[in-house]
Symmetry: C2
Subunit: 450 residues, 2 copies
């Protein structure tokens, strides 16, 4: 995807708003390279359908295979593992740590409409704490971000992986042959997560379906189990009611009770800071695709552009760094699918895509031997903070240069033909209002400063 | 290369200054993808020692081989070719066009100290005009950029490929067997360009050296020819004197005379806008590595950090788009080696690398049951535009949280323990001045706003 200027500036505005909110929440920017070692990236791609782009010539060190990052979370884990805090030297990353990152990630998929092989993600994560205050901060930041973007109607759906693990326990999922309980639970979550797309009945069908072959991680639930799931998924009411009903379903299932308590704590904190209850929805089908989530998970849909899916999603993952360090490190974060959000905001007419240039003033080059003068005027305007270009068309007729300025959508043109030069003046024309004013040459800068 | 926050913020400051100047000059931002088709990139890599990073799995369309861009100039040419201006529909890119682009490029080299496989380039180009005013604008922009970055001592060296072509004519370079005059001329330029590194004598030696084998494009000049080159390279004096002396060397060599006139025009324009003459140096050995330059070429060295080489270079290239469209399109531009410039400015102590966080205020979490209160305070400070984080250390002793805030180099800490909460106040401590003030809870936001 190429971004020409109008799109670029619209996206820049959007990204600046996001960045502003993230920084207000104390997330500090970092950057990691686009290329990582394959050994760093692999191991995190099992069920997400992500295809890594491999680099085929890594210079001479071909044994150290390289590939392109497919998200910012695995590089975050590597970064944390590579920069442990050293109290004496005061080097490394001191935890807890709030970091944000913005940049392109890559997936070797066949490109489709609205689905690119390169796309931007804007992530914010808090590493090094298991306090639910961190999770509440993430949700509050998601909320503030959507507001800053001018979106009126959105819903942040929240669930907890622990409740879904409790559900697996409740319906009696256990190891089956070569397939672990964990894998079967993940497959169950993956199916539940599709409820918005395929509906309750299809979800229940898939949950009871017989595995196609022995190694297929189909949950293969009993009819009775599927009815329990139906009951669970049918819990409704406001958020407090949902949690209360959920508690009744999971009496004695410790992991689920833990998850419910966590959600209750998050809700309480959000209430304290005035996050609109209507913007937050406890939703027990949300699982998020990624393997590594271990606690609360959340996703954001735009009510008036729900076809774009979740534009801002995240969750808690407490084990990600352990692959590098052997130690658990609790973390929670969320990620904006920037290109998807951009498309959704465009659909909602929240973007300004009218600026095809940054140029505010264009100096017409009307006299062939006055380049030095035009350059001087440009220099003056620039020193007043006005983005200025000298029209460099070969055809220097007034009409042609005027039309050029119009087509570029600049704000002002500065006219200094031979007559004006003789009189020591310039004509400044505001192309928006069509007003024209004669300004003394030496007062040009002041005029624009004003 | 990972950029942790202190480095990231220092680079961000640098890039913002560059971007500010580029925009003042009317360069509009665009973005192209990091991945291009191999067929787009190939053909421009012959003598520059650039190795392309190929992508080994491009999804299912494996016949459309993909690779990573190695600069922003080839994608610019593709972008121009793909978006011709349609006067009736008013779509496409209307020329002349000033565009800037900032982003990473990739070369499949063995990484070395200060030489990365991923590095950032910040380019500005003017396409669609052969007016020397454009070239002067580029040089003026380079000059303003260096000033904006706080660099006092720098030299922009300027030459013209046309003069070097004239030199090849003057010393009688012609086709030799399979090797074209053009290739031999380019090789001569490549050797001349090394004069700063290896000195005059070595350059002359290389120019007269016998080719190692028949297909080796060594210029193989006569002793007499090399003396002419020595005379040419020894031209000194101020810029006006250099051009005058150069004119004498090339009497009757049309291409060189053209080049000299172009440089004279650029100098005249730069003088008009007060670009310091001491910052500009006509230097006849400058050739720039890239094949595609056809006119003026320029490079910028920092006098107090010359070991970093040129940090901002460019030139005129009038044929680049023809590979895609079959038509010539004149263009001139320049490119900043961002990582190299960053290293050089760091060496010159022009960077602020002290901010390890964006957080301005840290709220200590001193009372275990007051999360809602701390969140509320954070929300208030954020609404006043203060980047705020709640300290999320597990060990919530005052001493530990205080030291944490110190180590993160935040500006303020907000203290609300049980005593303060009872009294309805908070303590705000400025960690820079060590001053502490008691503020009424309800006046916290106002205090920070002030």
């Amino acid at each position: 995807m190429d971004l020409l200027t109008a799109d670029f500036l619209a996206r820049e505005q959007m990204v600046k708003k996001i960045e502003g909110i993230f920084r207000l929440f104390g997330f500090s920017p970092v950057e990691t390279p686009i290329i990582e070692f394959v050994k760093t990236l692999s191991g995190e791609t099992s069920d997400t359908g992500k295809h890594i782009f491999y680099i085929s010539n890594a210079g001479e060190n071909t044994d150290e295979s390289l590939a392109m990052r497919f998200d910012h979370t695995v590089p975050l884990a590597r970064l944390l593992a590579a920069n442990p805090y050293e109290p004496k030297a005061r080097t490394g990353i001191r935890l807890p740590w709030r970091r944000m990152v913005y940049g392109p990630v890559f997936r070797g998929e066949k490109p489709q409409n609205g689905r690119y092989r390169q796309f931007y993600q804007f992530d914010a994560d808090i590493a090094g704490t298991d306090s639910m205050l961190a999770d509440a901060e993430i949700v509050a930041m998601m909320h503030e971000t959507m507001k800053a973007l001018g979106v009126e109607n959105f819903i942040i759906k929240i669930n907890n992986r622990k409740i879904l693990s409790g559900l697996a326990e409740l319906v009696g999922i256990t190891d089956r042959g070569q397939i672990s309980k964990d894998d079967l639970t993940k497959e169950m979550m993956r199916i539940l997560d599709k409820i918005d797309k395929i509906g309750m009945e299809k979800v229940l069908e898939e949950l009871v379906a017989k595995p196609e072959h022995e190694t297929h991680a189909s949950p293969n639930l009993s009819k009775e189990a599927s009815l329990k799931i139906k009951e669970f998924l049918s819990i409704d009411g406001d958020n407090i009611e949902r949690l209360a009903r959920c508690r009744k379903v999971f009496v004695g299932v410790k992991i689920a009770e833990e998850g419910i308590n966590e959600l209750a704590e998050i809700l309480e904190n959000l209430k304290a800071i005035g996050v609109l209850e209507t913007a937050i929805q406890i939703n027990f089908s949300i699982a998020r695709g990624l393997d590594y989530y271990t606690g609360p998970v959340m996703e954001t849909t735009l009510t008036d552009a729900s076809e774009f899916g979740s534009v801002f999603s995240g969750g808690r993952y407490n084990n990600l760094v352990s692959r590098f360090t052997g130690q658990d490190l609790p973390a929670v974060g969320a990620s904006i699918g920037v290109d998807r959000l951009f498309a959704a905001l465009d659909h909602l007419k929240k973007l300004d895509k009218t600026k095809e240039t940054v140029t505010e003033a264009m100096i017409l080059r009307l006299s062939p031997n006055q380049d030095a003068l035009y350059l001087k005027m440009a220099t003056e305007l620039r020193s007043a903070g006005i983005s200025t270009e000298i029209c460099l068309l070969d055809d220097t007729t007034f009409k042609n240069q005027f039309n050029f300025a119009i087509s570029k959508n600049v704000d002002f043109i500065v006219i200094a033909g031979e007559d004006e030069i003789k009189k020591g003046v310039v004509q400044v024309k505001n192309l928006k209002t069509r007003e024209q004013e004669e300004v003394k040459k030496e007062e040009l800068k002041d005029w624009f400063s004003k």
